[in-house]
Each structure stands twice: as C-alpha cells, then as structure tokens.
C-alpha cells in the first residue's frame, strides 16, 4: 500500500464505530493499545503530516482537519494521539536523508515529544553533536511513537548559549523512540488514553544533523505544509479536534434527550424548550466554528499550495479560528453535560468524557493566554517579541 492510495478521512469514518466502542478500554490502558495503533497506521492516519519523501501524504490542511475531526468524534484520546503523531511534519526540518533513518515503515512514522526546552544539550565533537540530558512532560503517544523530539538549551561547558538577541539558544533533537525512557506519569482525568507520560534522556549524544530549530529556521522539505510556521502546523493539526469532540457531545445529548426524563418530569428532555433551543443554537455555533477553521485554512493553503507564504495576518487568522473552535467547543460540551443531568455522570458515559477530554485539550500551552495575546498582536499588526510559539 502506498501513501497516495490512502484515504485517511474515509478510513477514520470507517473506524469510528470501533473507536467509540473501545474508548473505555483505551482510557483504562492510559495509552493506545498496540492493536489499535496498528489499525490506525494501516488506515494511513499517521501519514497526514509526514513528508512525502518519508512515505507520507503531506495532506492539505482541509484533509487533516477532516480526519482529526472524524477520529476525535469517535474517541477524543485517539483523536489527540493521531494529531500529535502527525507532528511528524517537523521531520521536514531535517535533511531528508537523515529523516529517512527514522522512517518506521510503509504505514507512516509516528512522532511524539515536545519542543519545550526542558533539556540541556552540551556541544560535543566541536559542534558535530550535542550530549543531551533532560526530561519532557506531556509526551502524548510516546508509548507507540517511532521518533521522539525534544527541545533543549544549547550549552558550552555547561553555560547556556545566547542568540544575537540575548535569548537562550534552543534546538530540537530528534531521537529514536528506543533512546528515551518513558516514565509512567499520565494519571489524569482528561485525555486519559493518550499516554502523555514524561520522557527523559540522559547523556544521549545526538548528531547535529539530527537536530533542528523549526521555530526559527525554514524547513528543508519544500512541501506546502512545511512552509507554514510550526505554530501554524500545530493549529492545523488541532483544528478538527474540538469540532469532533463537541460534535459528539451534541450527538450524545440529542440522542439521550429523546428518551430521558428528569425526575418528576412528564416529558422527554428534548421537549424542554431550554434544551431544544440550546442544542440547535450550539450546533449552529459549532458549525460556524468549523466553517471558519476550514475557510481560513483554505486561504492559507491556497497561498502555500501556490508556492507562496501566508502573511502574518493570515496565519493569525487561522490560529484565531482554531482558538475559536476550542472556545466554542468547550462551551458546547459544558452545556451538553449540564443539560444531561445525572445521566452523564457515569464514567462510561460519553458526555462526561467529552467534557473532561475537551477541557483537558484546551489546557495545551498553544492556547494559553500568552499564545492568545501573541495571535492577537500578530493579527493587529502590533510588535510581537520572538517566541517559540511565534505565529
């Protein structure tokens, strides 16, 4: 099977029923079970962001959004693992020959890890390599990843380097998964099945060509997806997630409300005008958010597909669309959960999982107040200090 023949969106939809049925098992395992990873790989769901030179699809933004939405609707943890696994897009910042050494096989290469510079890399061999030691949190998918990335501060003789602007000198190391240790730390309420454990390395020597600075350098791969900034790549990967999870919550509430009656009530919940109007209004808000994400992603995509570059304002527009989708999605799941009453309490009730999972996802640093300010200032044309999550 070649990547080109894959139809990840169709495959995701075909998998949906099985994913929904297995959600509790995934949650209990606190990671994606190996058999499930195999099915996701076979479906091409780990080829969306991967460079073509590495067997990936380099999917257009719209396809990525559709695929992530479909998986997240069935099981948010799996949806999250899929979108994080496709940060394999960052392999585009390595020399293709080097990147190829990480390739896992014909069904895609799964990346995990974190650009956060929570390690140190001492310059060795006169700059030909770095000896990296550190620990990263929130490494979603690390239990099934092929490649792991980890941000580090460059040191010489233990002294952190500085850029021309005085900022710490940062790089990102790409490692084989078997080079990192996984620490079983992922005991959480939301996105429980994503296996987002801590990972660490100690004194691993990483050749310089296995490192990159995606947030400051251009990608080596020429593909359209890689002419986006890393933050924009993330915002494309994230965009479908809230649409899927909140859409699921609405489906669940609508289905529940057709039959459930509140204690002492003579009518099913859906006959409650407050519930009926909220469901329809929330569906409108979520559809609107989905259209915005797709419209702005298409505008950006039209630029890069034509060989150009999106303007900062266009990148900020796409980011603010993803932020909007998360904000609307969180409100929608909260309202759905509340409307459902005690029926949503049980730990196998999908509605409470939607609540936990979407609120957990919204805690990602890409959606922090700092990031929002950066997006806003970029959109408004104000001065924006350099940052790892630069828009």
């Amino acid at each position: 099977m070649t990547a080109v023949a894959l139809d990840p969106v169709g495959a995701a939809r075909a998998l949906a029923a099985d994913l929904a049925a297995g959600a509790l098992e995934v949650e209990r395992a606190r990671r994606l079970p190996p058999a499930l990873v195999t099915r996701l790989r076979a479906a091409g769901l780990f080829t969306l962001g991967l460079p073509r030179s590495l067997g990936g699809l380099e999917s257009p933004a719209g396809q990525i959004i559709d695929a992530v939405e479909a998986v997240a609707r069935a099981d948010a943890s799996v949806g999250w693992a899929v979108l994080i696994g496709n940060t394999s897009a960052f392999l585009a910042w390595l020399d293709p020959a080097v990147a190829k050494t990480f390739t896992a096989g014909p069904t895609g290469t799964v990346l995990a890890g974190s650009m956060a510079p929570s390690a140190r890399g001492e310059v060795v061999d006169g700059g030909a390599a770095y000896r990296v030691t550190g620990r990263w949190a929130f490494a979603s998918g690390c239990t099934h990843a092929d490649v792991v990335m980890g941000g580090f501060v460059v040191t010489e003789d233990g002294v952190p380097g500085r850029t021309a602007h005085g900022a710490p000198l940062l790089r990102v190391a790409f490692l084989r998964a078997d080079q990192v240790e996984v620490h079983d730390t992922w005991r959480v309420a939301g996105l429980a099945g994503t296996g987002s454990h801590d990972i660490s390395v100690a004194d691993v020597v990483v050749p310089a060509e296995h490192t990159a600075v995606p947030f400051a350098e251009r990608s080596v791969e020429p593909g359209a997806l890689y002419r986006l900034t890393p933050y924009t790549v993330l915002m494309v990967l994230f965009a479908g997630f809230p649409l899927g999870v909140a859409g699921r919550a609405l489906d669940e509430l609508e289905s529940l409300a057709g039959t459930k009656r509140r204690v002492g009530s003579g009518r099913p919940l859906i006959e409650d005008p407050g519930v009926a109007t909220a469901v329809v209004a929330d569906r409108a808000a979520l559809d609107a958010a989905g259209l915005l994400v797709r419209d702005r992603a298409e505008r950006v995509w039209a630029r890069v597909a034509a060989g150009g570059e999106p303007t900062p304002a266009e990148r900020a527009d796409l980011a603010s669309a993803t932020l909007h989708a998360f904000d609307v999605g969180r409100e929608v799941v909260s309202r759905c959960f509340t409307a459902a009453g005690a029926s949503a309490l049980a730990e196998d009730a999908p509605l409470q999982r939607c609540l936990r999972d979407l609120h957990a996802a919204g805690q990602h640093i890409a959606f922090s107040a700092d990031s929002r300010i950066r997006v806003a200032r970029t959109r408004l044309g104000l001065v924006v200090p350099p940052a790892m999550f630069a828009v």
Binding site: T185, A189, L191, R262, S334, Q363, I365, S368, D370
Partner: protein
C-alpha cells in the same frame, strides 16, 4: 463525642480532619466511598450529627455553622464534603414522633442517615406499616449509613400507585435500617467519586408506620431554624457550604499557582499577567457574592421561621441562592482550571478534581432547569408545587 458548647465547635472539630484529608484524596477516590476510618473520625467528632435536634440530644447547629463546616471539609476534599452534608439525615428525625425518634436513637446513637428523595420505590400498606420494594439511585454514603430515608409511592396490593386528592401519587418516606437494604455497586462516576453514591434496593422490606413520614406536606415535629421552614430548606441549608468550599479551594489553588508558576520562558510570575489579575479578582468577587447571598438568604429563612412565616417565596429564595452558589462555583472552578495550564491535568492536582467534582455536584436534580423554573414560578407568583421548595 465532643462537648458542643462553643458556637463554632463543629468548624473547629472539622479543621484537623480537613487538614488530614490532603493525604487521603487518592484513597477516597480509589475506595469510591468515604473510607471507614474517616467515617469513624467524622462520627466520633460529632460531625454526622450537626443537624440532630437538640430536643433529641443532638447539637442542632445553627445553619451558618453547618454552612461553614461543610465548606471547610468540601474545600479539603469535595467527596468528603458531599458525604458529610448528605450524611446529615439525622435532621430528618425532626419529622418523626419524638418518642419514636428517641427509640431509634437509643438503638443507634448519633446515626448516619442517608436518603433518597426520588420516589423510586413502592410501599403497600399493611396493618401497621408498609411493605417496601424498589431501587433508588445515587444514595450517597449508603455503605456507611445506619439508616436510609427512602421516598416511595403508596401503592395498592396490586402494586398500582395510589392517587391523592389532586390525582398526584401519594408519596411518603420511610426510615429503613441499612441492614435491610441491598447496596448495588453502581457508583463509577467521573466526579464526586468518593461519595459511594450507589443504588440501594429494597425487597419486601417491612416498615412500621411510626417510621414513615410525610415531610413534603407535614411540618417537622421539632421547631427551630433547621426544620421550621421545610424539608427542602433543610436540605438546602446542608448543601449551601459545598459550592463555597469547592470554589474556595479552586481560587486558593489559582492564587497559589499564579504566585508560584512563571510565564513560559520568563521569570515573571503568572500573577503579573493582566488577564490573571482580572480573572482572579472577578472570580473571587463572585464567590464572595455567592456566600453573602447564602448568608442573607439563610438569615431570611431563619427570621421567617422565628415568625412562623417561612412561606414559599422566602424558601424559594434560599433554594435560588444555593443554585446561584453552585453555578458560581462551577464558573469559578472553570476559570481557575483554565488559567492554570496543563499541570492542572494530573489526577494529583486539586484543580482537576475540583473541576470533576463541581460538575458532578451541579448535575444534582436540585440544580436542573426544571427546578430553576419552579423557583421562577414562585418568584412570579404563579401556581407551583410549593412543597418542592
């Protein structure tokens, strides 16, 4: 049992237990009910008898003392706080004939009495009582309770519910010894995990008439602020402290995180973030308003009880104040949770527990849209089932 002299004895008794709960949150969630040693500590400290009438030998705390005590424990651990407030069913003994209540207490001093107000069972009258069958959901604390107060529809021998004058089913509530009930292990919830809110079932349980009450329509046999308004007002007084405690905890964690954590890539504390300053003070203020309203609303009910005039509007306003507190606490918790970033995700982090617990508590039927509208009807002076406030 402590000597209940100081007006704040209950709060003082709760404080050391609450302080110890910090190390027990994982146990409590794992047990899915309040662990036995904690049950015994609460009981020994007299904390399950806050509402036991003075005339029956109990401390009969003032409503505001109950509020503060429940808030203190809920702040430490929401499941423990919920177990505490829902375990104040000995207050329902005020609706029993005092002699009967006295006999019950003689057999079970300082009892923990759980309850379910959902008329999910049927009771067929016999010569001297009822034969009870049914299954009641969400009976928090049923595993450690001595008795359970269960609502049931009075039924004829064929099992058909009997209708009252207005055509509505006739509902009564029965005190049933826990030993006569089966607990079904059903409580696997995302929030309030440690409350043991399992289903309980009764199968042909015989209940003597003297242990059956009609608290929706009959006044308590004992006067005083806790019982003089209505059974629902009693429940609202027990519940009021819960959202305040959980909300307080969330804001304490928010402020502590804001002072401790730095903004990404800088040495600047999160507290210097303008959005954090804005969100924190608004959240603090709304939680303070929720508390101020509860204090005022409870005060109004107490005053009305003193005049023997705790009519539906003043009771409805107490209920509305508790709804307001729960809604406010949920918003406050969300604000705090969102501001504190990904580190709030871990099970060990109090904010994610606050998040799950307040959402679970807010799913209680007392906070449903139906309940809110009922309060709205009373506010507007429209016909309403005033026995439900």
């Amino acid at each position: 049992m402590p000597v209940h002299t100081a007006p704040d004895w209950a709060l003082e008794a709760a404080k050391p237990i609450a302080a110890d709960l910090a190390d027990r949150v994982a146990d409590i969630e794992a047990a899915r009910t309040l662990p036995t040693d904690l049950v015994e500590r609460f009981r020994a400290a007299g904390l399950f008898s806050l509402a036991l009438p003075r005339s029956l030998g109990g401390p009969e705390c003032a409503p505001l003392a109950v509020l503060d005590t429940v808030a203190e424990v809920s702040r430490a651990d929401a499941s423990a706080g919920w177990s505490l407030l829902i375990g104040q069913g000995s207050g329902f003994l005020a609706w029993l004939d005092p002699a009967v209540a006295g006999r019950l207490l003689a057999g079970t001093p300082n009892p923990v009495i759980a309850s379910s107000m959902a008329p999910a069972g049927r009771g067929v009258p016999t010569d001297n009582g009822f034969v009870l069958d049914g299954r009641w959901p969400y009976v928090s604390g049923c595993l450690h309770s001595d008795w359970v107060l269960l609502a049931f529809a009075v039924a004829d021998p064929s099992g058909e519910p009997v209708s009252g004058p207005g055509g509505a089913p006739v509902v009564r509530m029965a005190f049933v010894p826990s030993g006569e009930l089966a607990v079904l292990d059903t409580w696997r919830a995302a929030g309030l995990r440690g409350t043991g809110s399992h289903d309980v079932a009764a199968r042909e349980v015989r209940v003597p008439a003297e242990l059956v009450i009609d608290p929706l329509f009959e006044r308590a046999k004992v006067g005083g602020p806790l019982y003089g308004a209505s059974m629902f007002s009693f429940l609202m007084m027990m519940m009021a402290g819960f959202p305040l405690g959980v909300g307080r905890r969330a804001l304490d964690e928010f402020a502590a995180t804001a002072r401790r954590k730095t903004k990404p890539g800088t040495d600047v504390p999160l507290a210097e973030d303008e959005g954090v300053q804005h969100d924190l003070v608004l959240a603090e203020t709304s939680l303070r308003a929720a508390r101020a309203l509860l204090v005022a609303a409870i005060g109004d009910v107490v005053e009305a009880v003193g005049r023997d005039a705790a009519d539906p509007p003043v009771r409805a306003r107490l209920a509305a104040a508790v709804v307001h507190a729960m809604t406010t606490a949920r918003e406050v918790v969300q604000t705090a949770f969102h501001a504190c970033g990904a580190s709030a995700l871990y099970s060990s982090h109090p904010l994610q527990r606050c998040f799950r617990d307040i959402h679970a508590a807010a799913a209680h039927v007392a906070f449903s849209q139906d309940s809110v509208r009922r309060l709205g009807r009373i506010e507007l002076g429209l016909p309403a089932p005033t026995f439900l406030v």
